[in-house]
């Protein structure tokens, strides 16, 4: 099957079972890099089931009752932290959240000491976000429990990529063969990296559209087409994922002004005309309206999936926690 074929099957199914015979043969979810399509598809399938649950009046599915989940966020976050907390609670875990921006853990104690301390409290799931690339992997090496990366530096944000994939799959019916544009501050974005790996693994055509100062070196080596003009990159696109422009990039060092950025790279109805009529517009949030995206595009009920992404986020995180604790639960007979 051609990678870019228009075959109606949802995912390019792996021809063989994974070597271990497990659908998700990993202890942690540290990134999308290294996951095979079978594992990704399994995560998405399970998450899809949780979407239905989350739309019921009673949203509790306490399959993980009695387990402990620690959310350790070394970087400020509201929506991701809350999403993980809701996901854990709906599965029946006891969730504890620590935002260490205002705690003594941040300074003085090394990360590995923190890991030892947390490990001694016997959590079953640790969700971690950190400002340094690779930090979550380092901590995971010292933890006995499952570790989920909720974003590390500029490296990866795997649950964001999974929720984006689930959104695309539900709206478009498939990921394979879709032309998907990722636009904005790719250089500083872990969301972009995780999405590139995931969408490539699932057979999508990935395009990056950004001004040169916001593209990392040799990014074309990651298996993407690189464009600098929105008009070129958006032509014929099925999906457009906009990235948030961090305020610290707006001060003239990476681009001259917000006005100029919006003029050339802001997503507007006008620029979207070259995309497919049913183009899906996505944004990981929080949005800068009038900077990377026009309000009328963001609020277009037919094309914008931005709120749906948030909804999918809870389901995807439930799926991750469910899958990563499955063996533990079967082992303890619960």
């Amino acid at each position: 099957m051609n990678k870019h074929s228009t075959d109606q099957s949802s995912y390019p199914r792996a021809d063989v079972d994974p070597p271990s015979g497990k659908l998700f043969p990993h202890k942690h979810l540290l990134g999308i890099w290294g996951l095979d399509p079978t594992a990704i598809k399994h995560l998405l399938d399970v998450a899809d089931g949780y979407v239905d649950l989350n739309r019921q009046p009673v949203k509790s599915a306490p399959t993980c009752a009695g387990l402990t989940q620690i959310n350790l966020f070394f970087e400020n976050s509201t929506r991701t932290l809350m999403s993980f907390e809701i996901a854990g609670k709906r599965l029946g875990l006891d969730t504890i959240s620590m935002a260490t921006g205002n705690s003594s853990i941040k300074k003085g104690e090394t990360m590995l000491d923190t890991a030892a301390t947390l490990n001694a409290m016997h959590p079953d799931v640790l969700v971690m976000r950190h400002g340094d690339s690779g930090a979550v992997k380092l901590l995971a090496e010292k933890m006995d429990c499952a570790v989920i990366n909720a974003g590390d530096g500029r490296s990866e944000h795997p649950t964001q990529a999974l929720l984006d994939a689930l959104t695309i799959h539900r709206r478009k019916g498939k990921i394979n063969g879709q032309t998907i544009v990722i636009s904005g501050d790719v250089a500083h974005s872990r969301v972009a990296r995780s999405n590139i790996y995931l969408l490539n693994a699932m057979g999508a055509r990935v395009r990056l559209v950004a001004l040169p100062t916001l593209l990392p070196a040799d990014v074309g080596e990651l298996g993407v087409e690189v464009f600098h003009h929105m008009e070129d990159g958006l032509a014929g696109a099925d999906v457009v994922m906009m990235l948030r422009l961090q305020s610290e990039r707006m001060n003239g060092a990476f681009l001259p002004s917000l006005r100029e950025y919006y003029h050339f790279w802001g997503l507007t109805r006008e620029k979207l005309k070259v995309a497919k009529d049913d183009v899906l517009v996505m944004h990981p949030g929080p949005m800068n309206r009038g900077v990377e995206i026009a309000s009328d595009v963001a609020d277009d009920l037919d094309r914008s999936a931005i709120e749906e992404q948030v909804e999918m986020g809870v389901a995807v995180r439930m799926a991750c926690i469910d899958i990563l604790t499955k063996e533990l639960r079967s082992g303890t007979g619960s």
């Binding site: 340094d132 690779g134 992997k137 590390d152 500029r154 490296s155 070196a217």
Partner: protein, 413 residues
């Protein structure tokens, strides 16, 4: 007391001599060497078993003295960098280090002084007095003197004393915050990175200033093809520039930091395969003058951190010879050229009386088995820390004896 080191393959890069023979040491002085050296009066004879005997290595860039480790690596002269707990930027600190070295007698330690006061990049340090006290070069270590006006005056001032200025070759603005080589690996790992152009730019600028002032300038730790090309071009113009690299740049490319392996975190960063090959070629053709270990012991506490926070540096004394020999065994660099870069070249740059086996010189030499296979084992390193990315690597070439000031200070069975 006279000792004869017989049956040695004597290699003296100072004269280009490479032949089997005997070396005669009288107390702490080399008396003679050659195929027909006169052994009469020798009270001790040591059979070198055909091993290579060459001048003790001069390591032009070390961040710690770590004497036992140095001697195990065949290094008899250490050039200590100024980035110590107390920055070496006054004659008092230089003198203290020199006195300690003379007292210890087993390994010679010469400090480099800071090029600017407190390595702040702004005011020129007391180069003249530090030189009188025994400093052999002046550098701000891991940061370039960024301000062109300061650099120009520094070179002019140092030129007056014929002092060697050693510049870290990285444009400060492009290199700010960078912890990896700009390329696919850094992009995928999400690490802040700088391009090789940052190195070449600094070399280009400072070569112009060296030309303008006529001063001697040495670029430390060249890591890229662009950097090598820039030095080659400056040399072709007749500018008095020289440069060094470390064996880890000849041995590894940026693949080594995959998985956020902080033991491969060094400054400048490991670069691409193309860069690595260009560096080997540049050692072979003499563009790169000296090989240094950049010995930098770091405890696991400062290495086992997220990549951005982890300390840079590796321990290099004990692996210097074996890693330097790898391209020799591969036929890319000849043994004489490699040994020049470890002995006579740094001696001449720094004005040291060592680095030669000439009659009358200090008996600082090393005897090594160039072909002996062994496996680097971090746990058995003598070094004060074990931060090496080469753990378990099979290598060839090992020190058998290190003789410093006439005394056999390291022996391996």
């Amino acid at each position: 007391m006279k000792t004869a080191y017989t049956n040695a393959r004597i290699v003296d890069p100072a004269t280009g001599f490479d032949g089997t023979g005997t070396l005669i040491v009288s107390d702490n002085t080399i008396e003679a060497y050659g195929a027909d050296a006169d052994t009469s009066g020798c009270t001790e004879t040591i059979d070198c078993g055909g091993r290579v005997l060459c001048p003790g290595f001069i390591d032009m860039r070390a961040h710690a003295v770590d004497a036992a480790s140095a001697l195990a690596g065949g290094i008899t002269t250490i050039i200590l960098q100024p980035d110590q707990t107390t920055t070496i930027d006054t004659d008092a600190v230089v003198e203290r280090i020199r006195h300690r070295s003379v007292d210890s007698q087993i390994v010679s330690v010469y400090p480099m002084g800071a090029a600017t006061q407190g390595m702040n990049g702004k005011q020129i340090a007391e180069i003249g007095q530090m030189q009188q006290s025994g400093a052999v070069g002046f550098t701000d270590c891991n940061q370039a003197v960024a301000d062109a006006q300061v650099m120009r005056r520094l070179l002019e001032y140092a030129g007056h004393f014929d002092a060697l200025i050693v510049q870290y070759a990285e444009n400060a603005e492009l290199g700010a915050g960078a912890i990896a080589h700009e390329g696919e690996i850094a992009t995928r790992l999400g690490l802040a990175s700088a391009p090789a152009a940052a190195e070449a730019m600094q070399i280009d600028r400072d070569s112009r200033l060296a030309e303008l002032t006529g001063a001697r300038l040495h670029f430390a730790l060249i890591s890229s093809k662009d950097g090598v090309d820039a030095v080659r071009a400056a040399k072709a113009r007749g500018i008095r520039v020289t440069c060094s690299t470390a064996p880890h740049y000849l041995h590894l490319n940026d693949n080594a930091v995959e998985g956020y392996r902080t033991f491969a975190k060094v400054r400048p960063p490991l670069r691409s395969e193309e860069d690595r090959l260009a560096l080997i070629a540049a050692v072979a053709d003499g563009t790169i003058d000296t090989l240094v270990s950049d010995h930098s012991p770091k405890s696991a506490d400062v290495k086992r951190l997220p990549f951005a926070q982890a300390a840079s540096g590796i321990v290099g004394f004990e692996t210097l010879l074996a890693l330097s020999l790898a391209p020799v065994h591969a036929g890319k660099i000849d043994l004489m050229t490699m040994l020049e870069a470890l002995t006579i070249n740094p001696a001449q740059l720094l004005g040291l009386p060592t680095g030669t086996l000439a009659a009358g010189s200090f008996a600082d030499f090393v005897i090594f088995d160039p072909d002996k296979p062994w496996r680097i084992d971090a746990d058995t390193l003598i070094s004060s820390a074990k931060n090496t990315p080469f753990d378990t690597l099979p290598v060839q070439g090992q020190v058998w004896r290190t003789v410093s000031d006439g005394v056999s200070v390291f022996e391996r069975a």
